[in-house]
Symmetry: C2
């Protein structure tokens, strides 16, 4: 059993559920069974621990989407978009706490003063939006998506729309699952040739 990894996993859960500032190292120590000193031995500072988590998440996101794109076969750009929306919703469920972490403000506040943090965030968002954009350009080539929409900008709009649903869910304000059909429908309408 790798103690460093255990600390990372537990910290991910706590930072996501309670927030970074609201999670004391002592709690991570208690749950993992590792002494507080051990946590600082592996990750220098609390901020360093956070960055390690964010780096892991960035790598996971990039890897997951690359594999998905390589394995999947799409018969049209519009179908690709629908599949990617579904995959994003699926991922946000299977990596729920890390998406929650991404939706909290700490990372953005930190990125103002920490270059590494900013790089990770940009890598994550670029990866996500690139894929939405790729679906649009593909669709514009095969004729399944309107050529008048701006690929990058519309990719951002749709990404924002999908991500808002994920946020609704984590905020427990609404059951976003009930909005799935409406989401796909809106997507089609925005893009249809």
């Amino acid at each position: 059993m790798n103690k460093k990894q255990l600390i990372l996993d537990v910290a991910t859960g706590l930072f996501s559920q309670k927030g970074f500032t609201e999670t004391p190292i002592s709690e991570i120590s208690k749950i993992t069974g590792a002494a507080e000193g051990t946590i600082f031995y592996h990750f220098k500072t609390k901020e360093g621990l956070f960055l390690a988590i964010l780096e892991d998440f960035k790598n996971s996101i990039v890897t997951e989407f690359q594999r998905y794109i390589e394995e999947q076969k799409f018969d049209s750009g519009i179908r690709m978009m629908e599949d990617i929306v579904s995959f994003y919703l699926y991922l946000s469920g299977s990596m729920e706490d890390r998406f929650l972490l991404l939706h909290r403000h700490y990372a953005y506040d930190l990125s103002a003063s920490n270059t590494r943090c900013r790089e990770y965030l940009e890598a994550i968002y670029n990866c996500l939006i690139d894929i939405f954009e790729k679906a649009i350009t593909t669709g514009q080539e095969d004729g399944s998506i309107d050529r008048n929409v701006h690929p990058r900008k519309t990719a951002m709009i749709i990404f924002g729309m999908v991500d808002a649903l994920v946020r609704f869910n984590t905020f427990n304000l609404y059951n976003a699952g009930a909005l799935y059909d409406e989401l796909i429908n809106s997507c089609r309408r925005i893009l249809k040739a």
Copy 2:
């Protein structure tokens, strides 16, 4: 000069910009010139101060939108929707820090254990989504909006889409102003009869 109001204003700015936990009472005290004891005299606890801010925000939002709806004249449901989207973007600019506060997680975390907090949040979101929904039903009556879209659900989708733009802005990830045209366009496409 009302010291209680001054404390409220300064705290709003600090909680928005830095976050609730990251803002010590001592800083509010220093900036306002009020002693720390004075802050606790007016607002019992730090959490109480936060709730007072949220209550004010709820009242502002409700008042602003009511006045807007009453004063404005719309020649169709679809135009009403476009106007409301614009107004929402305008409001999020003129009440920037309070929208930032709404986008931070503290309020949602607190609402899990504090009924008043939860009520304020629900009031805010219901107010916002109700107005988007009203535009849709109006449009469906006058024929400017497709009758097949589900009013409430689509209102939530569009609200999420618009709010995502505001979030892009505050996160400084992208200049959301450049997305305005694309946003209105997407809106029209989702709703067009």
